[in-house]
């Protein structure tokens, strides 16, 4: 029978520093791909509400395709395909970290684009009309009137997305990106203690994601209240 207490007492001193370092990798991966996904999402959301039909169509196709695929498929395509299709093109052979960031941003950009669009569309039309009638250009109206207000609306779903992203980074262990799950897999096979190691990994993910979840809930409560 497995005595987890005993296993942890023996190994925690060597596991915790290693897995703690790997947590930094997870946080770095989450942070960088979050920023990139925000940029992609905002751009696609703006294209999605464009007045040009073709542009709208392209944005919509991107959203449907990138959202409809498992993140794992996108990661595999970004990581494994370029070196095979274009061997010798060095900049296309991404490191596992870069591939993970690109893959997660492609996936997340589509999710965020829909969140941003619904935030922009939730604002009353009169806001934009008022801005235009004051002589603002459509771009200025978007930058100074619509986006600042939409930010408030989209904050809770964006926070929820960030939590999902933090958990999704675990998938990047499958392309050997340097993060917590990869470290855990190594430790599990070298120590022959998979139960203890994976439970510890799960606990570490919880420690990282739970404060975010509480923050998201607080945001949701405050923003609802002030309406």
């Amino acid at each position: 029978m497995l005595d987890l207490v005993e296993v942890y007492r023996e190994n925690i001193a060597s596991w915790l520093p290693e897995m703690g370092m790997a947590c930094l990798g997870t946080l770095k991966l989450t942070f960088v791909s979050f920023l990139l996904a925000i940029a992609v999402g905002l751009l696609v959301a703006l294209l999605r509400i464009s007045t040009h039909r073709t542009i709208r169509g392209v944005a919509l196709t991107y959203i449907e395709v990138a959202r409809g695929m498992p993140a794992l498929v996108i990661l595999y395509i970004v990581y494994f395909v370029p070196p095979q299709v274009a061997p010798g093109v060095k900049w296309l052979a991404f490191s596992s970290f870069t591939a993970a960031v690109i893959g997660l941003a492609i996936h997340g950009g589509a999710i965020l684009a829909e969140i941003f669009r619904s935030g922009i569309e939730a604002l009353h039309r009169g806001q934009r009309e008022a801005a235009l009638s004051l002589g603002m250009t459509p771009t200025k109206a978007m930058a100074y009137i619509i986006l600042p207000q939409a930010t408030r609306i989209v904050l809770p779903p964006v926070a929820n997305y960030a939590i999902g992203l933090l958990k999704d980074t675990a998938v990047c262990s499958l392309i050997a990106a340097p993060e917590l799950m990869l470290r855990a897999k190594d430790l599990a096979s070298s120590s022959f203690q998979p139960m203890a190691v994976f439970l510890l990994a799960a606990a570490l993910y919880f420690v990282m994601s739970y404060p975010l979840a509480l923050g998201a809930r607080y945001l949701e409560m405050r923003l609802n209240y002030s309406r």
Binding site: M69, Y76, V85, A202, Y210
Partner: protein, 221 residues
């Protein structure tokens, strides 16, 4: 040979293998959905229990499962449980893992749905002499289902995509076979694109259903 020449030559072989995997993908998705629907309802009802301890334990269940990656949960079930003497078959581990993960999510969906029904409805049912259980069964749940249908369908899409993870516990689904085919033929682009197409042919129609359900729900109100 060019991309299309290879694609055309290998298409029947690739498709037959990948679609074979799709059967497992669908089995796992449907099994995990059924698991999550049933367990999630139990969890949601327990969370509304009058007993504090029960509510606390249920909250802990939901928070712990929602705060950790599904991949970590799968690893604990598939690689961890044999440590304590329980061997789990890959597909079973996949269904149970994704099912438990989903039950925590659906419990919140159920709770939001139930809470969206006006309190007067329960009060009216109780004053007509219904027991609380009957009021739940005949008055609350049938109305709440309408509210819950779009998020539940949405969850099914997420679940279907999450089944790609279970290739790591050796469940022979689409990505499992895709990886094997790439090792065998080195045609990564063709294989992964076909795999992506199979996923899209399932998720995009489901997304359309969600959009339709959401439009309908607005019309109901």
């Amino acid at each position: 040979m060019g991309f299309w020449a290879n694609m055309i030559k290998e298409f029947p072989y690739f498709m037959s293998v990948l679609l074979h995997g799709a059967v497992t993908t669908i089995t796992v998705a449907v099994g995990a959905l059924a698991f999550a629907l049933v367990v999630g309802l139990v969890v949601a009802l327990l969370k509304m229990s009058p007993f504090r301890v029960v509510r606390f334990v249920t909250s802990a269940y939901i928070e712990l499962l929602r705060g950790t990656p599904a991949l970590a949960q799968l690893f604990v079930i598939y690689f961890g449980l044999p440590d304590v003497g329980i061997d789990v078959a890959p597909v079973t581990a996949a269904i149970v893992g994704l099912g438990i993960n989903g039950s925590a999510y659906l419990a919140e969906v159920y709770r939001a749905g139930i809470e969206s029904i006006h309190k007067g409805q329960v009060e009216a049912a109780l004053s007509l002499g219904m027991t609380p259980a009957r009021a739940m069964q005949y008055i609350i749940l049938p109305q709440a289902v309408r509210v819950m249908l779009p998020p539940i369908t949405n969850f099914s899409i997420v679940l279907l995509k999450d089944t790609a993870l279970v290739s790591v516990v050796a469940a022979p689904e689409i990505m499992f076979y895709a990886r094997n085919l790439v090792t065998e033929t080195f045609l990564s682009m063709q294989v992964y694109l076909l795999a992506a197409l199979i996923y899209l042919s399932m998720t995009i129609p489901m997304a359309r259903v969600v959009a339709m359900l959401e439009r309908k729900r607005k019309a109901w109100r």
